[in-house]
C-alpha cells in the first residue's frame, strides 16, 4: 500500500511530503526523505532484532521479562514512593504524550524536563529576556533574500533545510531561488554548510559574543578602533553589518554553536538585541535550529499547561521554574534526584559522566524502542512505540508550526497502541494509588 504525504519523525524540519510504500507490515520503498530520515524509516521497519518487545525488570541484579501489568504497577510504585522523581524525554513523542507526562509530574509532585533544557534552553532564556522577532519557514522560503546560519551546520544535521525552506526554494518573491538570495555562514570551522555558502566567516571559538557586540556597535552607527575582533578583520565585520542592514528580508538561523559556547544564553540575548537594532533599518527574523522533531512541541505544551517552557518543578503542587537549579543536568550532577522516568531519550549516551553515575544509582524507568546504554542501567524497561510511524501524533516544527503525523505501520506488540496510552496506563495506576 502506498502512503502519501507521510511525515518524517526525525529532525526539526518536520518534512511532511514523503511517500512510503508498505508491503506486509514492512517498508519496501521510501521517496523524498533525506539520508537521515531514510535511515530511521528503514531502522523502524527492519530493526526487529534490536526492538524491545516485552517489559524487562531488574531484581537482585538479574534482568527478567515481566508482564505489562506488573511493569506498569512497578513504574507507578517507583514514581509515587520516592521524594524527588523526575520525568524526562518527550522530544520524540507526540504532544498528546507530553500532556499526560505533565499530568503525571503534577500528580507525583516531581519534575519534568526535556532535551531542550540542554539544547536550545539558552535560546529560550534569551527569548524570555529580550523577545524574539520570529517567522515561519514558509515566510523564509517566499520572502527572505538573506539567509544567515550562525553556529549551525544544517547540511549534516537538517539535510533538507536548505532545499525546502531557506536557500534553494523558488518562492513567491524569490522566483530565482538560490540566485535571489545571499547565503552567509558564521562558524568556528568550515563545515559542509560553510563550503557551499556565498560568504563564510570564521570566528574564533567562544568569541561569538564579541562578534555580535562589534556588529551591534556598527549597526547603531558607532566606530571600532580595533583592526580585528574575534579573529575576524573589522573590514569584514563592516561588510557583514552593511549586508544585514541593507537586505530586504533576512533570517538568522541560530544553532547550538551559539548556545553551547562561552556565554550561552548571553550570546542569544546579545544576538536578539542585534536583531532589534537591525530592525530599525530593515527586517530581520530569528529561527532556532531545533534538533528533535517535537522538541518545540514539548515547550509549547508545557507553556500551555504550566506557563513555563522547560525544567518545571511541581514539588509544591504548583509549577516553579529556575533552569540551573531545576534543570536535569544540574539536579543529576548534584545527586538530588531519587528516581527517574526517561521516555525515548537515552540520557546515558549523552549526559556527563557524573550524571550517568548518579543515574546508575537511582531507580530508573525507561520507555525505549531498542537496547541503549540507558536500558542497560534501567531497573525497569517498557517497550516504546514510534510516534509518527506506528501511532498518529501531533507535533511542532522548529518554527512552532503544529503538524499532524499519520500512522502507517503497526506496533510490534498489542498491549499498547502508543506511548501516550502507556503513559495513560501509568497515570491511571498513580491515581488509583492516591485514592
Amino acid at each position: 500500500m502506498i502512503h502519501r504525504e507521510v511525515t518524517c519523525p526525525v529532525c526539526g524540519c518536520g518534512c511532511d511530503d514523503i511517500t512510503v510504500k508498505v508491503d506486509g507490515g514492512k517498508i519496501s520503498d521510501i521517496r523524498g526523505a533525506c539520508l537521515v530520515g531514510r535511515a530511521k524509516f528503514i531502522e523502524v521497519s527492519e530493526g526487529g532484532k534490536h526492538r524491545i518487545r516485552k517489559p524487562l525488570m531488574r531484581k537482585n541484579g538479574n534482568v527478567k521479562e515481566v508482564s505489562w501489568d506488573k511493569a506498569l504497577d512497578e513504574a507507578a510504585e517507583i514514581l509515587t514512593s520516592t521524594k524527588k522523581p523526575l520525568i524526562y524525554g518527550f522530544s520524540e513523542n507526540s504532544c498528546e504524550a507530553v500532556k499526560i507526562g505533565v499530568d503525571i509530574a503534577e500528580e507525583i509532585g516531581g519534575f519534568i524536563d526535556s532535551q531542550s533544557s540542554h539544547c536550545h534552553g539558552p535560546t529560550i532564556l534569551g527569548e524570555q529576556m529580550v523577545g524574539i522577532p520570529s517567522c515561519t519557514l514558509g515566510m523564509v522560503a517566499n520572502y527572505a533574500d538573506l539567509i544567515v546560519y550562525w553556529g549551525a551546520n544544517p547540511v549534516d544535521s537538517h539535510p533538507r533545510h536548505l532545499s525546502r525552506f531557506s536557500v534553494y526554494p523558488r518562492g513567491l518573491y524569490r522566483p530565482e531561488g538560490r540566485r535571489d538570495r545571499k547565503f552567509i555562514v558564521i562558524d568556528t570551522r568550515k563545515t559542509c554548510t560553510g563550503k557551499i555558502a556565498s560568504t563564510f566567516i570564521q570566528v574564533e571559538p567562544n568569541k561569538d559574543f564579541e562578534l555580535i557586540s562589534a556588529l551591534r556597535i556598527l549597526v547603531e552607527g558607532g566606530e571600532l578602533e580595533e583592526s580585528e575582533i574575534a579573529g575576524v578583520p573589522v573590514k569584514e565585520i563592516k561588510k557583514l553589518a552593511k549586508t544585514l542592514t541593507t537586505c530586504e528580508y533576512g533570517v538568522v538561523f541560530v544553532g547550538l554553536g551559539l548556545t553551547h559556547s562561552e556565554g550561552k544564553w548571553n550570546n542569544i540575548d546579545n544576538l536578539l538585541n542585534l536583531v532589534r537594532s537591525v530592525n530599525k533599518h530593515t527586517r530581520l527574523s530569528v529561527v532556532a535550529m531545533r534538533g528533535h522533531y517535537n522538541v518545540a512541541g514539548f515547550n509549547e505544551v508545557l507553556t500551555w499547561r504550566t506557563g513555563y517552557p522547560f525544567s518545571v518543578d511541581f514539588q509544591r503542587g504548583y509549577p516553579r521554574y529556575n533552569p540551573g537549579e531545576n534543570s536535569i543536568i544540574d539536579m543529576l550532577a548534584k545527586g538530588e534526584i531519587d528516581a527517574m522516568l526517561s521516555i525515548s531519550a537515552d540520557p546515558a549516551s549523552h549526559f556527563p559522566k557524573k550524571c550517568v553515575q548518579h543515574l546508575a544509582k537511582i531507580p530508573l524507568i525507561s520507555i525505549e524502542l531498542a537496547r541503549t546504554p540507558t536500558t542497560e542501567l534501567s531497573d525497569l524497561v517498557i517497550p516504546g512505540v514510534v510516534a509518527g510511524m506506528e501511532s498518529p501524533a501531533s507535533y511542532y516544527r522548529m518554527d512552532n508550526v503544529p503538524l499532524i503525523a499519520k500512522k502507517f505501520l503497526d506496533p510490534p506488540f498489542s498491549q499498547t497502541s502508543s506511548d501516550e496510552e502507556t503513559l495513560k496506563m501509568i497515570y491511571q495506576r498513580i491515581l488509583d494509588k492516591g485514592k
Binding site: K83, K84, I217, E220, R316, E325, E336, I337
Partner: protein
C-alpha cells in the same frame, strides 16, 4: 572588614542540623520574621519542605534557645549546615542569621533588611533581588550573586553583599543599587544590564559590563584590560575610567587600578 555584625540584646534560637536528606531541604521559614513572637515549641513545628513532603523543623533540626517579640531582636544560629539547605532567610526584614557551615541556593533572596553571616561556602542566587540588609560569605560563592531572578531585568536594589573568596558567573546582573564586594576573583559576565550600584572585585576572568547603562564596577587588578565596547574617558586618582556599554549607548563606568 567593613561590616559590623552581631548586635547586642538579641534573643537567640539555635538550630542544630541532625541530618539532611540527599534530596535537600527548602527552609524559607527559617527567618527572624517567622520565628519572632512564637514559642520555641511552635518554632519546631514550622513547616519546611523535604522534596515534595512537608515536615516540621524539628524533624531535621534540634531547636533550642529563646525567641524575641520582633524580628529585629531575633537572632538565629544554624550549626552544621551544608549545601543541601536552600532558601535560608528568604524575604527576611530584620534580625540576624548566623550559619556555621555551607549553605545552598537562594540565601537571603528578596530580603529587605537584617544580616546574614555564613562561615563556609555558599551556592548560587545569593541575595537575588534583595532590597536591603547585609550578607557576608567567608568562603566561595556560586553564580548570580545579587542578580535578578529568571525572567526579570531588575536585580538587587539595595543592601550589601560581601564575599571573602571567589565567586562564579553573572554576579550583579541587573544591579540597580547597593554594593557587591568580592575580595577574590569573579568568573564571566559581571554586571550585565547594570543600571546603578557598585561592584568591587579583585580580579575577573571573563566578560564584564555587557549592556551596562549606569553604575560602577571597580576592578583592583592592574593586568585587567577593559573590553572593546567600553571607551577610556580619563583617569581618577589611581584608577583608569572606562565608559560603556557603547553599543547600548550606556554610561556605566569600569574603574581599573593603574
Amino acid at each position: 572588614m567593613p561590616f559590623k555584625l552581631w548586635g547586642e540584646l538579641m534573643n537567640e534560637v539555635t538550630l542544630k542540623v541532625k541530618e539532611v536528606p540527599e534530596t535537600g531541604l527548602e527552609v524559607e521559614n527559617i527567618t527572624p520574621d517567622a520565628f519572632a513572637g512564637m514559642d520555641v515549641k511552635d518554632v519546631s513545628e514550622l513547616i519546611i519542605h523535604a522534596g515534595k513532603k512537608k515536615v516540621g523543623i524539628s524533624d531535621f533540626f534540634r531547636v533550642s534557645g529563646k525567641t524575641a517579640k520582633t524580628a529585629s531582636k531575633q537572632k538565629i544560629t544554624i550549626e552544621g549546615s551544608n549545601t543541601l539547605l536552600k532558601r535560608i532567610g528568604e524575604g527576611m526584614s530584620g534580625g540576624e542569621i548566623k550559619v556555621l557551615g555551607d549553605v545552598g541556593y537562594h540565601l537571603g533572596e528578596y530580603m529587605t533588611g537584617g544580616k546574614i553571616h555564613v562561615s563556609g561556602n555558599a551556592g548560587s542566587w545569593i541575595g537575588t533581588c534583595m532590597s536591603g540588609g547585609e550578607i557576608v560569605i567567608e568562603g566561595n560563592a556560586g553564580s548570580y550573586i545579587g542578580a535578578s531572578s529568571r525572567g526579570l531585568r531588575e536585580g538587587m536594589s539595595g543592601g550589601r553583599i560581601l564575599v571573602l573568596n571567589d565567586v562564579g558567573t553573572e554576579i550583579g546582573v541587573g544591579l540597580m543599587d547597593g554594593e557587591i564586594i568580592v575580595e577574590g576573583a569573579a568568573s564571566s559576565f559581571v554586571g550585565s544590564y547594570m543600571s546603578g550600584g557598585v561592584i568591587r572585585l579583585s580580579g575577573i576572568s571573563g566578560r564584564i559590563g555587557y549592556a551596562m547603562r549606569a553604575g560602577v564596577i571597580e576592578v583592583l587588578d592592574k593586568s585587567f584590560k577593559a573590553p572593546f565596547y567600553f571607551k577610556q574617558t580619563g583617569e581618577e586618582g589611581e584608577f583608569q575610567i572606562f565608559e560603556g556599554d557603547v553599543s547600548f549607548k550606556g554610561r556605566g563606568r569600569i574603574k581599573v587600578l593603574r
